[in-house]
Amino acid sequence: MSGLTDLMTMAKPNEALKARIIALLARGPDMCLQCGRCTSGCTAFRLLELKPHEIVCSAKMGFVEELVSSKSIWDCALCLKCAERCPQEVSPYELILSLRNEAISKGLEIPEALRDILMTLMETGLAFKPKKAVDREGKAYGREELGLPALRTGLSEQALMALMELLGGA
């Protein structure tokens, strides 16, 4: 496929980057037949400049850089309809996540909400800080007031180390 050129951007396929993007995927893009079933069911269809089957097609052909910097990968609702519908066991959902991973590790983009979650995760081992429950009148209740047992939460030191190593290696 190395003879291809994207006539819109004059880009050449980047096979090494493609290999990295799809290395972990259980259901990578190579089996795609471009039937378009993913796109026909896509929740975020109206938001996407590049439709799911186009994202898969570009990735399959090795035009990955454009996808990594595309806004479309951040508009995906992660609803899994594409993966459910694909007759070829391709998961555009997984591919989009992998492209997001690459964009973040390149420093191209990191949504603010995700940054907050990561901070909380490192601090507490949970994505959201444990807090009191507030009822519809605005009254706050602790767990014991509701008859709920106290629960230990958090990640062990070893798990936190392992997590940081995995995140650092990205």
Binding site: L24, A44, K81, A127, L166, A170
Partner: protein, 288 residues
């Protein structure tokens, strides 16, 4: 013989007690024992976009931790946690690179990929423990409701491409019918609430939630019923914003599935955490 561990997840621990209270109460009434898995930690779902390996590590670590404490199965009432467990298992079975990285991450805690608890969700648990007939026998107050069931992406598509979702939906409908609840199809039933889009596109996420609420209203069904805390957040807690995103005013009562089951089992609404629902649940006569 160790029984069943339960992994609640971050949303429950950060204040969404309606799910926890109602699951505990319903299972107690049905005579199903659960033991809290400790310590509870993140299932990895919120960091999928950041790093696939790390998010699968967190999900599988829950299964490994639970197995190391002797549990064969772990109940995951949160659909996102349940999906993360199943998806990570799928990824693991297909990618040598991933299993190598996770084995290595597990080694410092003495955990192993060879010993993982099996994740189960609430529908499977209730179906297996008492089944539709057993449930019917315990009903104190047949509900006589027609509801807009919102199965949600992570329940319906926990194992994409396998047809598992439709099988689970059929079981769920049998359970609902046992408590006097009909859950007919309505346009948009299988659609997404926008929960996962909230992280990156809040405006679009609210439009999706609003469209869902509008669809439920227009189908003249009694209330929306959800399984997942992320859906509950979008459709119940953020209902006002979601409605205004689509120019609607009419509120829709939103109940968790275990709250609905609990009402039918004759459990006091206060014990099912209904005061923590923001949507107009008082419109339902079964709640009063």
């Amino acid at each position: 013989m160790p029984g069943l561990a339960v992994f609640w997840g971050c949303r429950v621990l950060s204040g969404d007690v309606a799910l926890e209270l109602s699951v505990r109460k319903v299972l107690e009434t049905l005579g199903v024992d659960i033991t809290d898995l400790e310590p509870q930690s993140c299932c990895g779902e919120p960091i999928r976009s950041l790093n696939l390996t790390a998010s699968c590590y967190l999900a599988l670590r829950i299964l490994a931790l639970s197995a190391s404490k002797g549990y064969n199965e772990v109940l995951m009432p949160c659909s996102k946690g349940y999906f993360m467990a199943n998806w990570s298992l799928d990824m693991l079975s297909r990618s040598g690179e991933l299993s190598e990285a996770i084995s290595k991450a597990f080694s410092s805690e003495g955990l192993s990929l060879d010993r993982l608890s099996r994740p189960i969700d609430l529908v499977e648990l209730v179906y297996r423990a008492v089944g539709p007939e057993g449930l019917r026998n315990k009903v104190e107050k047949p509900l006589g409701l027609r509801v807009a069931l919102h199965p949600g992406c992570y329940f319906m598509r926990s194992k994409p491409g396998t047809g598992e979702g439709l099988r689970k939906l059929a079981e769920l409908r049998e359970l609902l019918s046992a408590v006097g609840v009909e859950a007919p199809y309505y346009p948009g039933m299988m659609d997404c609430c926008g929960g996962s889009l909230w992280l990156t596109r809040q405006d679009a996420a609210l439009t999706l939630a609003g469209s869902k609420l509008k669809a439920a209203s227009e189908s003249s069904l009694d209330c929306l019923v959800v399984l997942c805390p992320s859906c509950f957040e979008m459709l119940d807690a953020r209902q006002e914003d979601a409605l205004s995103a689509v120019g609607e005013k009419k509120g829709v009562p939103v109940l968790y599935l275990p709250q609905l089951l609990g009402l039918a089992l004759g459990i006091d609404p206060a014990e099912l955490g209904l005061r923590f629902n923001r949507s107009p649940v008082e419109e339902l006569s079964v709640v009063r």
